[in-house]
Symmetry: C2
């Protein structure tokens, strides 16, 4: 891909920028996006026209830009300028007995490629995060948003150019077929890090086919375990929030495990809040898929074979009764995607056991799984949520887009 | 592979061990290796008998164990017990405006698989490093060393067992054909990190085929740039050390770049030390593969097309004259494998330019590239040298065998 060579050629120039220059480039990008709002909205209208009828209403909504969404994109970039630079940070420094001074310093990755869904705002977020961390970005967005992304990238490049920064710091892939995704996965020597964002199919394709280092993101089968010593009110409010505040996202809860000692009291309350009250208020009720013993306590759909291994991304919650915290931990260990899992309990010892044994990127005590998010974690914004263990786990902020090198200073040492 | 399931089942038990227990297990492993020295030497003799005539003398030497090498293996394990635990370290802790306390804590990876060459000592090093960092290891060593590795692993397992630690913490793959390597590369859900050690072919096979997170190690085309402002004596001594102290290893120098202003004075001295003096002393002289302009100054082999892109691992050094530090940086950027590269100069500004612009795991000023090594860096020992940028760069010590998780404590927070 020609773009890969352009991107690689820009690495040295971008790595040489200091943080003040990067910030002025980011501000210029934000201004340019607002300045070109009319052009961006026109391009977006074209995308929406073409997409109408071929994709769901939810997707059309994600695709749609408005004046206010464009301002939000620009403000998102401005927010990033307020973050301290993740570059040039000395992680370690030591003087060895032979006098060598070994320093471990953060540096950019080089070229970061992102394959993402048809969401125009990701185009500006990803480009800005990559630039703040000294990287060149290759953006491969979904085909439905291509015209919008092109207009946004054109504006951002104009912004870069206005402050004398190399336009090739940001690169948009024009081929939105699978071919370009596969090319990026195999672009060894050009792409230092590939981040696939999107559905399970894309992630799997990257894991299966990628020869470049690749960060798995996303899939979240998040659990909430309501312990025997749970505060019932907290539990209900947390589950309601984790399930219904935004069911389509990866940090939404999909499974609720309830300790047998409180199940009889707790399950009817859960059903009341998630199903009955919502239905009465004209909101989509949550469909409860219940294990056999739970079905003896409340009404609901009998849980099928796959219901404890499914990321519903919908108003559906699988519910199971467990006989102990240990059984809950065992279930989660077996079924979790290692994204975010929570325990609700007032018992510190049980909470400590849970946080020690659950092997997920984010393990919660008495809080909603919905907090797994770069902004909520104080990282600024994020490039996605890593569900693998290598390199970075959880929200990928600017720090996670860097690597390090060792600089060793001597005066003639030999070994 | 049945072994993968055994390994995965042991993860929780090994992760639950505290550092004192891990250290006593390591000491018991070391004692058991010494206690079973006779059995290990017998097994090794069998390996050597079988390998004789099929592999090189150098490889036979690497394969051979002696009483003193067995003690060295045991002592290597004992050294690891002196390192502080890399687990349970709080990397970050913050209280968010909503009261959530977010803590980022180091934890084991889980299962680490290592595919390595026929060197029995790697069996004990790798198992010990993995255990110290709370991980279960799957060891897939070269077929020539299988009997030796089996005897070592049998001893180590007896050591584990003697202090009540689960024997499945260490697993040796009995199938030494390619099939087992490919199975490990595709063992998604079982292997959390795969480390291939060995030749370029193995590394490439892992990069091409692996669906599990994989850390590229090894290949080192290391450069030494002798600047116009170099101290000639330091330069000669460093190049001699980097080239001849152990030519078969990845941190040995393969290419020397010399600034044109000093080439006429420097090259004859280089040739004298690397070639003439060594020949006179009955040592293997270094073959110099010279660029055209260098050939006008000293005698040597004309450099061929690939000589600046080859990891010789032998008494061969490619030599080229450059007209500036910038040209040296450009050459290295194009030809380096991003392992270790050095500049020899007394000019601080040029040294700073070099350390800033060279994008390698280890960048040296006035020291030998041979220092890129876990022990030399103060990491204890190492599992290999990473040449990729994701997760870890340079020597892989116990810290690099861990990941982290976020533990978030709240009192009912919802988003």
């Amino acid at each position: 891909m020609k773009l890969c060579a352009l991107a690689k050629a820009a690495v040295k120039k971008v790595a040489a920028l200091d943080d003040a220059t990067i910030n002025s480039a980011l501000l210029a990008m934000a201004d340019a996006i607002e300045g070109k709002a009319t052009e961006i909205l026109l391009a977006n209208e074209k995308d929406i026209e073409a997409a109408r009828g071929t994709v769901s209403d939810v997707m059309i909504d994600r695709l749609r830009l408005t004046e206010s969404r464009i301002h939000a994109m620009a403000d998102g970039i401005r927010e990033i300028t307020k973050l301290p630079s993740p570059l040039g940070v000395t992680l370690d420094k030591s003087t060895r007995p032979n006098g060598l001074v070994i320093e471990k310093v953060t540096v950019p990755m080089g070229v970061i490629a992102i394959i993402y869904e048809s969401r125009p705002n990701v185009t500006s977020d990803a480009a800005a995060l990559a630039l703040k961390s000294g990287n060149v970005s290759i953006l491969r967005g979904g085909k439905e948003a291509y015209n919008s992304s092109l207009a946004i990238v054109t504006a951002m490049k104009a912004g870069l150019s206005s402050v004398g920064v190399c336009e090739d710091a940001i690169n948009l892939v024009s081929d939105t077929t699978r071919t370009s995704s596969y090319e990026l996965m195999r672009a060894s020597g050009y792409v230092d890090l590939l981040i696939p964002r999107g559905g399970a199919g894309l992630i799997r394709a990257c894991v299966e086919n990628s020869t470049v280092p690749c960060l798995e993101t996303g899939t979240g089968i998040c659990h909430i375990y309501v312990d025997a010593d749970a505060d019932t009110e907290k539990a209900i409010s947390i589950i309601e929030n984790a399930k219904t505040s935004r069911p389509s996202v990866c940090n939404a809860a999909e499974v609720c495990l309830v300790h047998k000692d409180i199940a009889k009291d707790f399950l009817p309350k859960l059903k009341e809040v998630l199903a009955d009250k919502r239905a009465a208020a004209g909101q989509t009720p949550v469909e409860l898929r219940l294990s056999e013993d739970a079905l003896k306590i409340i009404d609901g759909t009998p849980a099928g074979e796959n219901d404890f291994d499914t990321e519903f991304l919908d108003y559906v919650l699988a519910v199971k009764i467990v006989s102990s915290a240990a059984e809950a931990i065992e279930h989660i260990t077996l079924h979790s995607t290692h994204h975010s899992d929570a325990i609700i309990t007032e018992n510190t010892a049980v909470a400590d056991l849970f946080t020690k044994e659950i092997d997920s990127a984010a393990v919660y005590v008495n809080a909603s799984t919905r907090f797994t998010d770069g902004g909520e974690f104080g990282l600024g914004c994020e490039m996605g949520i890593s569900t693998q263990k290598m390199h970075a786990r959880g929200p990928l902020g600017i720090r996670e887009l860097t690597t390090y090198k060792y600089i060793i200073r001597g005066n003639g040492q030999i070994r």
